[in-house]
Amino acid sequence: MSDNKKCDDHVLHKSRRKVLKGLAAGIGLIVMPGRDASASVWEEFFQKHFRELSKDELKSVIARLEKEHSKKFGKQVTVKTTPPIEGVKYGYGLDLSRCIGCRRCVYACVDENNQSRSPQIQWIRVMQLDKEKGVDLSYAEHYYNPATVPEKGRFYMPVQCQQCEKPPCTKVCPVQATWKENDGIVVVDYNWCIGCRYCMAACPYGARHFNWGKPELPASEMNPSTHYLGNRPRPKGVVEKCTFCIQRTREQPGRYPACEEACPVGARKFGNLLDPESEIRYLIENKRVFIFKEELNTQPKFFYFYAT
């Protein structure tokens, strides 16, 4: 009886070894054929989390991405990994007494940050609200399209990622593919994101967007100056969001975000919250300021204010 069992075990052991061997050979066969992409697909599949990459690994990841994107879009694409600047925490101000709801910021953002044109993804959503009702979202309309703006009795409130100090979105991510950087920007590692969209459910501002389809981005409109955590082209099935134009603002000197530059009425303000002489600090200290959905204690670093 026991001998028999021993024998069975032996057979089983042998056959398991055989199976494993066969499997390895099989996988080898699948991978081996001289398909150009296979090596990079392999590499991409086994790529580590962005924050666990060593310097050399990061280098090869960036080289791979730059090569792929440059080939796809037919121009030299750079993928930066610029780290946060010490002594900087970004803050954003938006003057509701100035905003006229023209949506120039929305499209400047789409262009700068390589958002999918179809299916359409826009990181900024402008709400039209009633002056009589105030910031009451039950009266918000974001498909407004009159001949000219602003309309009488209305005001406009653009909403994008509020870069919360206590972001609910990063807490719910089951794989930690999204986190808050030391300069306060909440970022996503698109190669680590599994597309579960928990973060979208957790975000009270509707600031996160999912690539339901293969992002369509015309090569001629593609912005080749990209950041790994920001505006590099995204694959299908990942979540993306505003990063305060991380590819611009982390440089020294760093340009203003695209939405700030596009605003025709100068309603958008950007700066370093830790710099007591920045315009963002001035407006927080001297103007009437509110943060959106304050009661949720997400502690946004996006400040709506009234200059007049």
Binding site: F50, R51, E52, L53, L58, P83, P84, I85, E86, G87, V88, G93, I100, G101, C102, R103, R104, V106, Y107, S118, P119, Q120, R125, H142, Y143, Y144, N145, P146, A147, T148, V149, P150, W179, E181, N182, W212, G213, Q252, P253, G254, R255, Y256, E261, C263, P264, V265, G266, K269, F270, G271, N272, L274, D275, P276, E279, Y282, N286, K287, A307, T308
Partner: protein
């Protein structure tokens, strides 16, 4: 006790040597604080060549906050003296019929006349209430006489738009880049298209 007496000269020497080396090193290198990719703060000794600039609040260069682009003159209109030097200054308030007829004043009309802001004699200058003459590139001083609250906000970057670098050179716009001084109310714009509704084309 014996051991201690034996070791102490060596210890002193060692300390002296290490102090010497440390001070020598600090002359060329600096302690640099950086965040690594995991978000931890790493403090390393780095030579001057390796150092990345940090955002320095105290020692930043004084920025020229009034770096403004050229005022938005209508084509061929400036310098004003190219025509006005042939004309006799006429301070009388009247309706202009020959030149500048396109200018319709919607800016405290009825209380104001051209030469309240434009200097009567030297036409290439603007005139403050005090009688001081200022260039067109400094027109914010003229506007700021009445709109002091906006001028104050503009100077700190809250009114108006700044372009350029948030932590470097910035460019301001003059009041007149956004507001026509003769008709300053901001004009309505056509909004860019609204987002697609879910379930419609593009999805």
């Amino acid at each position: 006790m014996k051991i201690l007496r034996f070791a102490s000269p060596k210890l002193v020497l060692l300390t002296l040597v290490s102090i010497f080396f440390l001070s020598a090193a600090s002359a060329y290198a600096a302690r640099v604080k950086e965040f690594n990719r995991s978000g931890q703060l790493i403090v390393t000794e780095k030579s001057a060549a390796e150092q990345q600039p940090v955002y320095d609040i105290k020692n930043r260069p004084k920025e020229n906050i009034f770096a403004v682009p050229r005022p938005p003159f209508s084509e061929g209109v400036f310098p004003c003296s190219q025509c006005h030097k042939y004309l006799k200054p006429n301070p009388k308030q009247r309706v202009l019929t020959e030149h500048h007829t396109e200018i319709v004043l919607h800016h405290a009309e009825g209380q104001r006349w051209c030469t309240d802001c434009h200097n009567l004699v030297n036409r290439d200058k603007l005139r403050l209430v005090s009688g001081d003459l200022v260039d067109f590139t400094e027109s914010y001083r003229l506007c700021g006489q009445c709109h002091g609250d906006k001028f104050r906000d503009w100077k700190v970057g809250v009114h108006g738009k700044r372009t350029g670098n948030w932590n470097g050179d910035k460019q301001y716009l003059l009041c007149v880049h956004c507001h026509n001084p003769h008709d300053p109310k901001f004009k309505a714009l056509k909004p860019l298209p609204p987002p697609n509704r879910p379930g419609k084309a593009g999805h």
